[in-house]
Amino acid sequence: MEIFLSQLGKGEKGIVKRLEGGYGFQRKLSSMGLRIGKQVRIFSYQPLRGPLVIEVDNMRIAIGRGMANKIIIEK
């Protein structure tokens, strides 16, 4: 099932399927290591539409909700 990264529950895992948004945005995510085919796990949601903390490889990354709405995940 394909969903947005921001729809994944806390502690759940998924594989990155697609990145939406502009080329610059996609590149920014990829160069930090958040790429298609990577497994991500939701670490925490900050309240009041705050950022998500996700785990990719050995990294923890904080990412805003709007950005997380441009990342399509296969659960």
């Binding site: 903390v53 923890r60 990354i61």
Partner: protein
């Protein structure tokens, strides 16, 4: 060159012996820094640059890195062993440039510790570039790195598309890296707890309160038990000097005697107040503040605070990472202003720099405010800091609404917690304290000197008369307080000190402390802000400063009931 937070500055410092600030978060280094070392018997210039994830820069700091690359004859590529994939991707981008390279496989101790095993020999063969495992902070592998520099080479890689590059990286990782599964350590559990809102927010409040308490405890302890006794020993010597001096020189060196005695906070002489203020009133707090800040930086707490506070910061047009310039600004506004470079858009930089310059008092100024208002208990200090915080919030909301454009969202790596390396922590503390001693103290002395000239020449009473409508009518301060506003452009700490002899009431002290923080940055911060924002935006920012100072100062004068 290398990704952010991989230890470039640590290795640079090891190679060149140059002092640079090293911390555990992305974006510590925002400027390039030059140093030199001996290379095959000749001096060679080494340049430390900000970290970048790719050669397409997304902020000012990354731009600096990419620009400097073009000037290099050789690249020391610092690779984070715990995150090989992403780092190799940048490595391939670097290889496509025609510059010889050696690789320092840094953080190799941490990689081992978390169960990552890298076959260095194999990686060296595959990349066809010399590779040396290193631990930057302890200096492990640095000698070997230097010995390999002459063997630096570029294997002439053709230009790849992003996809080809990632595939190539993936293939290499499969061949050289093995990871073992292992249990979570205590630090990792603590790390989890500090970004989880339910536990993270109480932890953040606890850490901030605790930090504040320790800073005051250490600061006051040093003043009461070390520096005050020291100056008590010095007093008889200064009195002897006082007896010998002719009037004119006496006024400048010793200042006014109060009841026939030296009063270190009021005499205003170079050898009395000029020494006492920076050494016995400010230095202890500078030391205490940077001890705590350094620990939090090296431990890796700041990015977590940025995540927790992100949603609040969005309301004022910033994202969580902007808390870092604010915190650095609490030490000194200059590094705070420089740190706005980690923010992507011009809008964010403007908001962050303006809010910091207006509402964040530096430690030197705060130490003086503590000295001035401390005896009134929590009432005086509480109102000053609460006012600044409220102004910060309201001004932020207004700027966010009135300045065109939107601010990007947070996108930031959270480094693992690391136990600070004690020697590195002490070195950083010493560098920052030394910077106050060598640049702060001379300026304080200069400030005290100028104060004397301005008073004795009658300039202050002249300007006082002209500005009386604003100073007296709106702000409710005596007209002599204008001298403090003039000196505040040079040094805010001296400016606060100048309030003491004026015999102000608590209400006037509160207003003066707030006004001195807000009205304009000191000259050092001003220079950095002009450079970072451009003269046009700086003028806009200055306009905001002056207007909001008059409004806030005037309101306090009307509202405060005592």
């Amino acid at each position: 060159m290398g990704n952010p937070n991989v230890g470039k500055s640590a290795i640079f410092s090891r190679l060149t012996g140059t002092d640079v600030i090293i911390s555990n978060y992305s974006g510590t280094t925002v400027e390039f820094k030059k140093g030199s070392m001996l290379f095959e018997g000749k001096p060679a210039e080494i340049i430390d640059v900000p970290g970048t994830y790719s050669l397409d820069p997304t902020n000012k700091a990354e731009e600096v890195a990419v620009e400097m690359l073009e000037q290099g004859d050789l690249v020391i590529n610092i690779v984070d062993s715990t995150n090989l994939e992403r780092n190799l991707n940048l490595t391939f981008q670097l290889m496509e440039k025609d510059i010889p390279m050696v690789i320092a496989l840094n953080l190799s101790d941490e990689a081992k510790h978390i169960g990552i095993d890298i076959d260095v020999k194999k990686l060296e063969e595959l990349l066809n570039v010399p590779i040396i495992p290193t631990v930057g902070v302890t200096g492990e592998g640095i000698k070997k790195l230097v010995s390999k520099l002459p063997k630096a080479k570029n294997p002439k890689t053709k230009k790849h598309s992003d996809k080809e590059r990632w595939n190539k990286t993936g293939n290499i990782i499969k061949q050289v890296q093995k990871t073992k599964h292992r249990h979570h350590t205590f630090l990792e559990r603590l790390s989890d707890a500090s970004v989880n809102p339910i536990t993270g927010i109480p932890i953040a409040i606890l850490i901030l309160l605790f930090s504040f308490a320790i800073i005051r405890f250490i600061g006051e302890g040093l003043i009461n038990y070390i520096f005050n006794p020291m100056f008590n020993l010095y007093t008889p010597i200064a009195m002897k000097i006082s007896a010998f001096l002719p009037n004119f020189i006496h006024d400048i060196l010793i200042g006014t005697l109060i009841d026939g005695k030296i009063d270190y906070t009021q005499s205003m002489g170079l050898l009395t107040t000029g020494l006492y203020v920076p050494i016995a009133m400010i230095l202890p707090y500078i030391f205490a503040f940077y001890l705590i800040l350094g620990f939090l930086e090296d431990f890796g707490y700041l990015p977590r605070l940025a995540v927790l506070i992100d949603n609040v910061m969005h309301k004022i047009g910033l994202h969580g990472f902007a808390i870092i310039p604010m915190l650095l600004g609490l030490g000194c506004n200059v590094p705070g202003a420089l740190a706005t470079r980690i923010l992507e858009s011009k809008r964010e930089k403007f908001i962050a720099a303006t809010l910091m310059a207006i509402c964040v008092p530096c430690m030197a100024q705060m130490a003086m405010v503590f000295g001035l208002l401390g005896k009134y208990g929590i009432k005086g200090l509480g109102i000053v800091f609460l006012t600044l915080f409220v102004v910060w919030t309201i001004l932020g909301l207004i700027l966010n609404k009135t300045i065109k454009g939107i601010s990007p969202e947070i996108f930031m790596e959270i480094p693992p917690y690391r136990i600070p390396y004690f020697k590195a922590l002490l070195k950083k503390l010493w560098m920052r304290t030394r910077s106050f001693i060598t640049t702060g103290i001379p300026y304080v002395l200069l400030g005290v000197f100028i104060v004397n000239i301005l008073y004795s020449s009658g300039i202050i009473s002249f300007i006082g008369k002209i500005t009386a409508p604003v100073i007296v009518t709106i702000l409710g301060l005596p007209k002599e307080a204008v001298g403090s506003l003039i000196i505040g452009f040079l040094r805010k700490d001296v400016a606060v000190g100048m309030l003491l002899p004026l015999g102000l009431t608590l209400k006037q002290l509160i207003i003066a402390s707030v006004v001195l923080t807000m009205y304009f940055p000191c000259v050092a911060t001003f220079a950095v802000l002009v450079k970072e924002l451009g003269i046009k935006d700086m003028l806009k920012s200055a306009f905001v400063m002056i207007i909001s100072t008059l409004i806030v100062g005037g309101l306090l004068n009307l509202v405060l009931p005592f």
